[in-house]
Symmetry: D2
């Protein structure tokens, strides 16, 4: 598939759900070779053929690029040292997403900047789905900023991480469903607003409410968009078709709505739209689905890595 | 607990999920005695100690009151004949919910009319949760009718009935989540609008989107309410406290949001609120949870039956 | 239902899954009144209308009987002090199940001793199901002690307790299934062997393998019994019918096998049998299902409490 | 990866769960190209980039090999006609598994015969796991034929097919677990016995009990083996290590037991063993896990196809 030697890649933080997914993807990636994978309490264990080492024991000098899936706050401490060695980084934490030193890695909208970046801040899972749904409408000036955009998002449990917590036990989560941060209290919101303003020119109000689903992986967002003018379903679908023409990781559905099944284990966002009947002012409901661990984290990180390295953008990914 | 002979009750349509729940509740009800329970293809089978008979073989004359959980359209054909015999009816289908011949059975708001009714139309599951959340705000004139109320509702699979359908197979639903009728396409919407106008004086726009959850029972609705004036969380909670003072089947949470766990197997709605930060105009997000088979169907029917018969309103129910 | 004042009952260890189930049952029990419910880290929280207090603050003198759902080892320290105050105890831990100071509380087989006991050791969940399946066969001399009885047991996750453990997270357990202690390594086995010998006169070999099911509650045991003589299905069913004639908490199925649905939220064991075709020596497969939190723990404790207090044996229980 | 043109492959029966998995695997297979995929009621629909056609419209002449995932009985009618055209076939139904005209496709044990076969009968999911666990012991003469081998098997719901059935609805299966064919009533048993005799020289008694798990995919079998002599755990593991030395699709665990997580989406059997303590005669418990749709069906069919075509045995498979 490629005629070059595999690029040596390091993984920081390989024992969480995102880190495990990174290893799963990189192990099957024909253009990459994992040279180290780190963990702290799980150091010594084996995952997908790689023995985890402590970060302080990682042979950083052997990696051409590092993918970091560290806990919030930890990346901010580690990454500058890695960059100082001349190593490129895709950081999957939130630590650099609002920083001017990093390129925001929403691949479909930031591809040229990603290609030349030394440090890519991989987007959060919730913002990835919301932005891929909203940016085409925002850029077309179709969102009525005088009314609020309402986003109800539901995420599988891997989105909450792998630390032992009573509220994430099977016996607590199974057969349950709940909102866990109503009233715009979620930490991803600043990232979402920043990209909507910068990449979409939109600064209207948002109402974002995340929910916890009794599934392992997947995010589905139901996004209620007030419009500046009437848009029927097929016109809206056509707008998305055009915005994402040729994009390998975006699937625009026609006359159907996406479900988690359409996206899990794939580096894909699926988008579907519905015109809203029986309301006085124009509206659209957009449904966006991603796998929180793939397009929402590890898959998009590999997609960005491919762009940075000049490899085929979807190498090693199932879209 | 009561000194009277149990009231003879008939159940029409006892093989579906709602009918089974009716039998479960009535069998343990100290003031009621099931005199027949009907089914068509399942006639002859036993459920909770009752042998199901075909509707045409039901000894209607032995029942003082009939609870009907028949498929849509079937109730419209059966119920008039039952009423003609002088038998009182709680109908759980949608067939009479918009009819002037029936009393709408949202118990907390229609208690006096239910007490004297010959025919009660038991509310739908989605409207029950939405109305119990919205009516106190509507009656207080707090909903800004110039902006849309957005309701994202998620229901367990029993809400879709017990007929064999490929899309409801375990292997299709488990680990999945999807909207199934975006754009105000759901048949419950007319009922919701009618009660909001009649019982709450509200005629603004609604956007209603139901989703299918991979759980057996429970509905959670995330209801986004544009307000006419600022309402902080504790004030909103106080308003609900007052509206539902003394109501045994309403649980107003303080500083917390309900989840399905709080309501399953109970004849209860749980309500929680969140003020919405960082928006220019006042808003409230209300979360309402019910068990779709209990407060959303069979439990509320028993609650209405109790009111009609002058029994303690919660007899036979766990609230 | 009863003309006496409710008996004052104390609950030790009310924050785990078993303790919560005890509170749920006792709160609805017409003959009992909870006078305290203890917890350590959860002290101060409210459950089912009771505020949890630390064990050292519990008004032990107010309770006529105490139900203790404490962690293993903790009961052994607490219970002697409680008994010294003259208070009767049903202990749900394993600490007294092999002790000569306690009556083993498998109600159906130990009823007279339970009635007069000061200390009842409530059986473990796995042994309860296995013993109710095996004792009638053992007592009839039907088990061939020259061959091994093989028990494959599958339990819902609440059986593993409520402490935060990574291996019990939803994202680890959902869509998974595994044996967790093959080779007779489970700690319940001594209890099972002791009762089979004492109550059934059986001392043949057992092979016991517990598995973890992705469900919240329920145990199903598939029990392979080598027989001393041929027993067809209906004869075996008849034997169980006779052994359990009049027993309110045992359901013998005819021509069908039990599933978890038949028993969850009920204080019931369901038993079903299958003759084994195409084998040279006589065999029977028995399936036993219980709710691990009800007949396997809190429900059987209440059943024993009822017997100890001279109340109706199933008061407060759904069988 | 290979320098030859992809082999043209036809898929008969592509709308069921096994057929969908075949398409998923073949679509990503670098050495194969799907030239048709058939379905009856789903004809016209698209799956993984292929439009399904009715079997009578399939261009059989374009395929070099056909993989048939047809309902039982249907294969027996179709396959002879396909073979008459000179086309090689891997049949995934049970129709040819006991036929002398077909090679039994348990790849690890029948590789040379598969390589030259015109018709391969792909093994059933339950027998695949059981045989890979038992054959090494049987061939070493270690199974005591005077006692019974007891197999308790648990399967995910996709094993029951994709036809709409009430008992397979989410609301029936979730939170449930049950045996569905105790007493050696399962149709796979003859196939298992035949291979144990032919490939392992074992003709002792088996007791096989399948159970339905509330998961989508995966089979776990707990296999209780009476031994002719004592075998400790590490010796048993060593025996499996030797038997499967170099086998890419068999994972022998050391000091651990497999779970479904170890095998889903992989063409792998995972095997783990436990010596049984406290029994008078030697015994071993073996746990075998596979993905019923992969190593138990579509994956093993592709593995066999690769062997038949002289391709790398694991091409297109994740093991």
């Amino acid at each position: 598939m490629n005629n070059h030697a595999p690029v040596p890649v390091g993984v920081l933080g390989a024992s969480g759900y995102v880190g495990q997914e990174l290893l799963r993807l990189l192990t099957r990636h024909p253009g990459a070779s994992v040279v180290f994978a780190t963990a702290e309490s799980a150091a010594g264990e084996w995952t997908d053929g790689h023995q985890l080492v402590r970060a302080e024991d990682a042979p950083l000098e052997r990696a051409e690029i590092v993918l970091a899936a560290l806990p919030p706050g930890v990346s901010a401490r580690y990454v500058p040292g890695i960059r100082a060695r001349g190593c490129r980084v895709v950081d999957l934490s939130a630590d650099f997403r609002l920083s001017p030193d990093a390129v925001y890695g929403l691949t479909e909208f930031c591809r040229p900047a990603v290609a030349g970046a030394q440090l890519v801040a991989n987007p959060g899972c919730y913002p990835t789905a919301a932005l891929l749904a909203l940016l085409p409408l925002a850029r077309a000036g179709l969102i009525d900023a005088a009314r609020e955009v309402v986003i109800d998002a539901a995420s599988g449990v891997t989105g909450a991480g792998r630390s032992p917590r009573r509220d994430l036990l099977f016996a607590e989560v199974a057969e349950d469903y709940r909102a866990y941060a109503a009233g715009n209290a979620h930490r991803h919101l600043a990232e979402l607003r920043a990209s909507l303003a910068r990449d979409g020119g939109f600064d209207g109000d948002l109402v974002f409410t995340p929910h916890l689903l009794p599934v392992k992986r997947g995010i589905l967002e139901t996004i209620h968009v007030p419009l500046t003018r009437v848009l029927d379903r097929t016109t809206a679908e056509g707008l998305y078709d055009m915005a994402y023409d040729g994009e390998p990781c975006v699937s625009v559905m026609h006359g159907a709505l996406p479900s988690l099944r359409d996206v899990v284990y794939r580096n894909r966002v699926a988008l579907g739209v519905a015109a809203v009947a029986d309301v006085r002012r124009p509206r659209l409901t957009v449904i966006a689905a991603i796998d929180n661990l793939v397009k929402g984290a590890a898959g998009q990180a590999v997609q960005n890595m491919n762009v940075m390295l000049g490899l085929s953008e979807t190498m090693g990914l199932v879209c």
